[in-house]
Symmetry: C2
Subunit: 256 residues, 2 copies
DNA sequence: GTTGGCTATATTGTAAACAGTCGTGCGGCC
DNA sequence: GGCCGCACGACTGTTTACAATATAGCCAAC
C-alpha cells in the first residue's frame, strides 16, 4: 500500500534500545511435526540407520516445503540423529561400534544417577505416574512391536523425569534415541531390545524406595542391553582393506 | 554446455540403488567459523546472555551471507546456546535459575564419573597431556581474563577427554558452555568462575591415581562453583507480578 | 502530561528460480 | 568381454526477491 500523505519523518533513527526477550512463547523446533515424525519413526525402528532422507520426498510426505524440511534435518543433524553429507543429502545416523559402546556407558552413568535421584524425590504424584506406566506396560499387546518399543523408551524417560532435573532429562531423551540407532545397527536379529521383566523390577524397587537395589537393577538392565549387540563383520572388511592399503603405502615409501 | 550429439537414452531409469554413505568426510557444522566464533565469544563472556544476534550484523561481521548465519544460529539453538524467537530473532541463551541449578547437578554427575574413568584409563600419553595443561595453567597471565576463562574450560574438557568416552565428552562440552551462560547470568560481580587452586589439586590426584580423592575433589570443586551464583532479584519482581495477576484471576473466578 | 492509535522502517521468514555436484548408465575402446 | 570416459539426470546448495511481522517514533486526543 502506498502512503497517502507526504513523509515528514526524518530518517535519523536512534539505535533501537535493546529490549530483553523475556517471557516469550518458548515453543521450539522440537515440537515441529516433521521433527517429531522422524524421531518417532526412528525410535520405532521404521527408519533404519543409513536410510536416505531425501528433501523432496519428505516435503511431499509431510505436505510442506523443502525449506521447512531442511531446517528439521539440520536440527536432527545437530542432535546426531541424522547425518548430513555435503551434496549427497541426509541419512539416518549410523553410529560406529565405539560410539555405540560409549552411548551405553553414558547411559549407565546418567540413568543410575537418575534412578538414585528419583528415589530421593519420589512423592505421591510420582508414585502415581510410575504405577500408571507400569500398568500400561504390563497389559499392552506384546505383538504390537511399535507400541512395545514406544513403551520401553517411555519407562526410561519417566525415570529421568522423576529425577527432577530437566538437563538430565534432555540428555536421557537424546541417549534413548541414539540407543535405538545403536541397537538397530548392531542388534542380533530376533532379540528384543529390553528384557521384558526388567522394568517392573526396577519400578517396584523405586516404589519401595530401595535406592541401592534400584540403582543396581538399572545398571544391570543397561549392561544386559549392551551385551545384546555385537560388532558387524562388514566393518572389519573395510578396516582390513584400509589396513592393506596402508601397508602397501608404507612398503612403497620404505622400499622405494 | 549443450550436448553435441543426439540423445538416445531412454528416460526409463531404475530406482537408484541405495548406496550406503560409508567413509565420508565427517566434517560437521561444529567446525564452521561462525559457530566457533560465537561459541568462543560466549565461553569468554564477550557475549552476554540476552544479547541480540542480528542476522545482518553477523553476516557483515563474518563476511558471509545471511543464510549461512541462519544455519549457524539454528544449530546453536538446537544446542540451547542461543534462543530463537519467531519474528524477533536470535539471542544469547539466558538460562532460568532452575536450569542453572540443573546444569550444575548434571555436571556433578557426569564429571565425577569422567574423573573416575580418567583415573582408570590414565596412560603415558594422558599423563603427559595433563601435565602439559597444568603447566600452562600455572604460568598463564592472570590478568588476561579471556585466556584465563579459556584455560579453565579446557581443564574440564581435558578430563572428559581422558575418560575416553566421546559421548561423555560431547556432553561435557555442552555443559561447559551452558555453565558459562549460567554463571554469566547469575554471578556475583567480581568473583572468578573457578577457584584458582582447585585444578592443580584435582590434576595431581588424577596423576597419583587416587580415584576417590580425585572424585571428591572434583565434586567439591563443582559445588564450590555452584555456590557462587545467586538468583537474580529482578526475576523475583516478575514472579511477584505474575503471582499477583494469578491471584487476581483466581479471585475473579471464585468470587464471580 | 499521559495514553492510544497510526505509520514507516528494520528485520525476520518464505518462496521460487538458478547453479553446482555427484551418482548412473551408455557407448566406445582395448 | 571387461574397462574407461562422457554425458545425462536427480538431487542438494545458494542466490535472489518478496511477504509478513514486530518495533519505534510521532501525532492527536483526553
Amino acid at each position: 500500500m502506498k502512503r497517502t500523505r507526504p513523509l515528514k519523518r526524518k530518517p535519523k533513527r536512534t539505535e533501537p534500545k535493546h529490549r530483553e526477550p523475556e517471557a516469550v512463547d518458548p515453543r521450539s523446533i522440537d515440537d515441529d511435526p516433521v521433527v517429531q515424525g522422524i524421531l518417532t519413526a526412528i525410535s520405532q525402528k521404521r527408519l533404519k540407520p543409513g536410510a536416505k532422507l531425501g528433501e523432496d520426498k519428505l516435503a511431499a510426505a509431510f505436505g510442506t516445503t523443502r525449506i521447512h524440511i531442511r531446517q528439521a534435518l539440520s536440527h536432527l543433524a545437530s542432535r546426531k540423529v541424522v547425518m548430513q553429507i555435503p551434496n549427497r543429502g541426509a541419512f539416518v545416523y549410523r553410529p560406529s561400534w565405539e560410539e555405540a559402546q560409549d552411548i551405553f556407558a553414558a547411559r549407565r552413568i546418567i540413568e543410575t544417577a537418575a534412578v538414585s535421584a528419583a528415589v530421593d524425590r519420589l512423592d505421591k504424584a510420582g508414585k502415581a505416574e510410575l504405577k500408571a506406566h507400569m500398568e500400561r506396560e504390563a497389559r499392552h499387546d506384546r505383538n504390537d512391536r511399535w507400541a512395545s518399543l514406544s513403551l520401553t523408551a517411555e519407562f526410561h524417560i519417566l525415570v529421568a523425569k522423576l529425577a527432577g532435573n530437566r538437563v538430565l532429562l534432555e540428555m536421557s531423551r537424546e541417549l534413548m534415541l541414539r540407543t535405538s540407532l545403536a541397537i538397530a545397527t548392531f542388534e542380533q536379529p530376533g532379540e528384543p531390545d529390553c528384557s521384558p521383566d526388567a522394568h517392573p523390577d526396577i519400578g517396584a524397587l523405586i516404589l519401595a524406595r530401595d535406592k541401592a537395589g534400584a540403582v543396581h537393577a538399572m545398571r544391570h538392565h543397561i549392561e544386559e542391553m549392551e551385551q545384546r549387540i555385537r560388532p558387524k563383520e562388514g566393518e572389519d572388511e573395510v578396516d582390513e582393506l584400509t589396513a592393506i592399503f596402508k601397508e602397501i603405502g608404507a612398503r612403497a615409501r620404505a622400499g622405494g
